[in-house]
Symmetry: C7
């Protein structure tokens, strides 16, 4: 049975329904939204973990510094997203509250996986309950826990995976191939940033500009989120 | 797959649904409402920030002074909108309450971005929950914070961007081109008002009248919203 | 895209939905109801503000004195309406409660605009939330505030405008033209009543009868709602 | 646009929707129910107010005395109805409770209009909120207040009018013509009962029987609801 | 307009909707259910009131004594039903609770009509509120009040009538004709039981068996519900 | 009107609706589910009451002892079911709680009929309220009360009957015929078990295995539920 | 009647509805989801109980150790699943809470069956209540209770069965045949792990990798969940 038929017969026009071949079509369409979203790359490196994302500045009168596509969740956790960014903001605000609450209650930093599972539970809920559409966003969440660096990707179904290096959003197939070739577990954050920004440049072609890149890292030493400056990005790309 | 097909198949007749290509059509239609709304222009200038909007007075027996299309949110924050203006009023009243509550709680002025994020969260909610349509309005919010002047545009999705100079509503494509040519970061508020009112005049053609223009500024010195008088607007247009 | 097409495709058969061209059709149909309602005229005059409306008495056995189409909201505020009059009654009762509550709380009369905004917020709510149809009525609200006389018109969208002289309901286009010609800001209430009743007589033609007219004024001196007697109306029409 | 078209396009298959020409079709159909209901007549006379209604006894084994189609709302207020009589009973029970509550709270009889407005507010609510159909009934409510006799008719929209003499239900057009010819404001209750029962007899033709008539009066002297006996009705008809 | 057309156009596929000719089709279909239900007969006689009903035993391994189709509501009130019997049970349990509550509160037996009105109010509610289907049952309720014997029939609309003798359910048209011929107000309960059981026998023909008959009476002397034994029924039928 | 037509016109695609011929189709389909369920047999015998059911073991790696298709509700009450067994489990758990609560409150065993009525009330509720499907199960409930042995069958409508001997589920027509021939009121439990297991064997043919049979009895002496061992079943079948 | 017809007529596009042949199609589609899920195998052995599942690692940059498809529910209970894994996570978290709560309340380990029944009750609820889709997952739950080792499979209907050896998900038909041939009740856990991993290898063919296998056991001695190391799995497969 082909997708087109499903559409003719309405299996994809209600959230909480299975199609005869056992698929939740609305969730699959939400994933399509993600694949059309801005590119976001993450890597776990020898000396830290990094996120690089495309700001997609569409007008030169926009204030580029004000576009924040990498959010600090807690001192040691950061996130970016591909898909509907207002959906992402809701999830990030929830993650921030959860992390802050954890610090107050336990006087210690929250585990990255705990945040990831919490966000995935909400996402799952939106695929099962009527009156709510699925979240149209995938989150890339990176953190430095007591037991090591972590990098997770969530999806609209409420699933997550832990990755060494990953890309979501526009161009994810092309750039994931670059990562397969160029990423090694023992590269430095500096090398990783170079791979990520270069692959973004390659994918965007003439639309690329250093201004469009948002990047942040958590180094092993400080275990704190640090934004990467425009200057450093420009230098990496030379 | 073409838009027409989506319409034939009903993907656009329920709020909380994705189309097979990952779009939320109801939200896109709400944006269409915005682009048909009254023109609203904002600019960050050397010595202040300004908003200029078209009052669209349709009958000479209407009291023009009573049409308020620029609302004071707090002493240092103002807003205008394009789209369904009763939707805008609801959002403005919420922003006013939030700002007032902040002053009472913290005894200091609220940050403009905090207001913007709060309005965007409500807007996002209306795109995800059943039984509510998206807000059919974009807000242009200007404020003078401790750390500088800000100008934001929100959209029906719950997204926002910070701008140096921007226009929304009817004629937004034409006027944004004018802004690209004429706006510089170091113009004065006086120059900015001139650019904004002239471009409005140019766009409206013979329908233009000084009466139709609503304008307000926040100067760096006072950090307070001041309405621009009809007389001053008339003078600018000479 | 033409209206007929919208109807074929169902964009107008649910309240909280936008059509592809960004319109809320149910709200537009509600406005149609208003334009079929009984004629209601308001004017701000030199010495007071007035409302005149058509009682539409359809049977001579109806008690004409009992038909009240101008309602006293508070001592200094009155209202009339065009459209579904049971919808109007609900709004008037709410306005009366709000005004009474204000007097008790602040020991001073409520501002007319405060009432208008409150009614418009409810109206807006009914255009955004599922399970409720929009109010099928426009209100004409006149008041004498500390800072002057006011005349407002609300619509089913939840929008309002302040007017010097205005007409809503059946014949609104014809009578508004008469107002454009005959209304001046310095006419007296007596002159205004004459203009209003004559234009109603002209529009209704042979269906007109002095009995059908309901009129009330708020004079600057007393700032109190006074009903205009049948005798006075009859005299005006001679 | 013709009714048939509306039906083809579904504007009449949901309560809270306007048709493109601004009508609420479900409410109009509810009025149709009323016009098919049993005939009910009311008159304000020189010395009292009266209600006369058709019991529509369909089987000789029904106990005619037990069919009560005129209900006592309070000592000085009575009501009858045309349409769905179980809907009417719900409204009458509410009116009875409201009247009783008023007596307890204020130690004085409730005003007839207060009851009428309360019932109309509920009726209006059922035309605006989803999940409820409009009431399929019109009420004829007669009362003797401190300031005189009153006779009201409510409709499914939540509208009401005060009448001198009126008929609702089956044959309302024919009998209203009789009332126009025969009713005078200075007739006695005795004369009024004769007009009402005769016109009912004329309309029902051979289906008529004295048994079918339910009648009650409130005389000026007692201001109390009194049922009219079968014998008195039989005598009137001779 | 013919019924078939209504069905083609969907007026009968939602509970709370009127058809263009002012009918509530779902309620009419519920009445159809009643007319297909088991036959139930009631009579008010000189010395008591009786109910006779068909147990419709479909298998000889069913325990006939356990089929109770006449329920005791209170010492002096009994009921039977035609239609969906599980619907009837819900109504009977409610009536029993209401009667018991009344005895506790007022220390006297409840009036039969009070029970009838309460059940009809619930039935009416189910015809007006969304999310509930109408009750698919008519109740036959007999009682011995202080002011005499009563026999009522309720219907799915929430209407009721008081009868001298009546039949509902399968064969109601045929048996009502028998009642018209044979019932007199001065027959004894013994004669009444004979008429009821014989007419049931006549209607059921070869399907009839004394076992299928459930009967109960309330005699004037005791004012208590008494079941009629199988032996007495058998004797009556000889 | 034929069933097929109902299906074409949608009367069977909403729970709380009647078809034009007065049927609740969703409830009828639920009964179809029951008739496809596993066979369950019950008998009241001279010295006790018994239940026998088919475990329908579909794979030899299933643990047959763990399949419990006869549930103990209380010491003296047991149940089995045909249809959706997860629906049955919900009902059994409710019955167990009700029985346990009764023992605690009254310090005596609950009457079997009280349990049956409670389950039927829930079943009825699910046929009348929107947002819930009917229970797709029939329960066979057997108990030993102070006044004798009882055997009841409930259905998805919320109806129940008391039986001497009965079968539900797959093969109910064939096996009920066997019961008609072989069941006598004075057989012993031992004889009854033989009839039940043999008729199950006959119906299942080569699919039969002693392992598939679940059986339990309540003997008059102990009034306690006892499971029948696999060995005893095997012996009966020789 | 064929499945295709059901689909044409919409019986499968609402959760809480039966098709005319008594099936709940949405639940059947959910089972289809399960059969497309990752393979999961369980076995009760002489000296313990085991679970083996396929991690389905789709990209070599995923961190295989982080994919946890066997969850520890309590010290002595573990679970795996086939189908929508975010649905499974919700159920596992509920099971973990229930088990923890039990330990706190009773100071003893919870019975495996108690957990299974609780999860099945939620699953059943989601097949009966509107506004929720069925869970698209089957759980494989293994535990070591005081009275022995247990292995259960739940399904989307809310049904469960106890098994000696079982497989769910992709390839369940092929692998169940292998189990029928190779599984014996007296094999050791070591032998069982070999059968399970080999059959997984056989089914996946060239897509197989030792990395993809997740396995855990509960040995009789410790009654504690132990994960099986990658090394041990690799050795088994030699």
């Amino acid at each position: 049975m082909q997708p087109m038929q499903h559409q003719m017969m309405g299996y994809d026009r209600a959230i909480t329904m299975f199609s005869p071949d056992g698929r939740l079509l609305q969730v699959e369409y939400a994933k399509k939204t993600v694949s059309l979203g801005n590119t976001a790359i993450g890597m776990v490196c020898k000396d830290g973990v990094l996120l690089v994302t495309d700001k997609r500045i569409m007008d030169k009168l926009v204030v580029p510094e004000a576009i924040e596509k990498i959010w600090q969740v807690d001192e040691h956790v950061m996130a970016t997203a591909a898909g509907i960014l207002s959906d992402a903001r809701i999830l990030v605000e929830r993650a921030q509250e959860k992390a802050a609450g954890y610090r107050i209650t336990y006087d210690s930093p929250i585990d990255t996986l705990t945040i990831v599972k919490d966000l995935c539970n909400i996402a799952q809920y939106c695929t099962q309950s009527g009156g709510l559409r699925p979240f149209g966003v995938s989150m890339l969440i990176a953190g430095a826990d007591a037991d090591g660096k972590k990098l997770f990707v969530t999806d609209p179904t409420g699933l997550y995976n832990q990755w060494k290096a990953v890309v979501i959003g526009e161009g994810e197939e092309d750039i994931q191939q670059i990562l397969h070739k160029e990423y090694k577990e023992d590269i430095t954050v500096e090398q990783g940033l170079k791979i990520a920004t270069s692959s973004l440049k390659k994918f965007l072609g003439e639309n690329f500009a250093a201004d469009r890149v948002d990047a942040a890292v958590i180094m092993d030493g400080t275990k704190s989120v640090e934004r990467v400056s425009k200057e450093r990005i420009a230098k990496l790309l030379k």
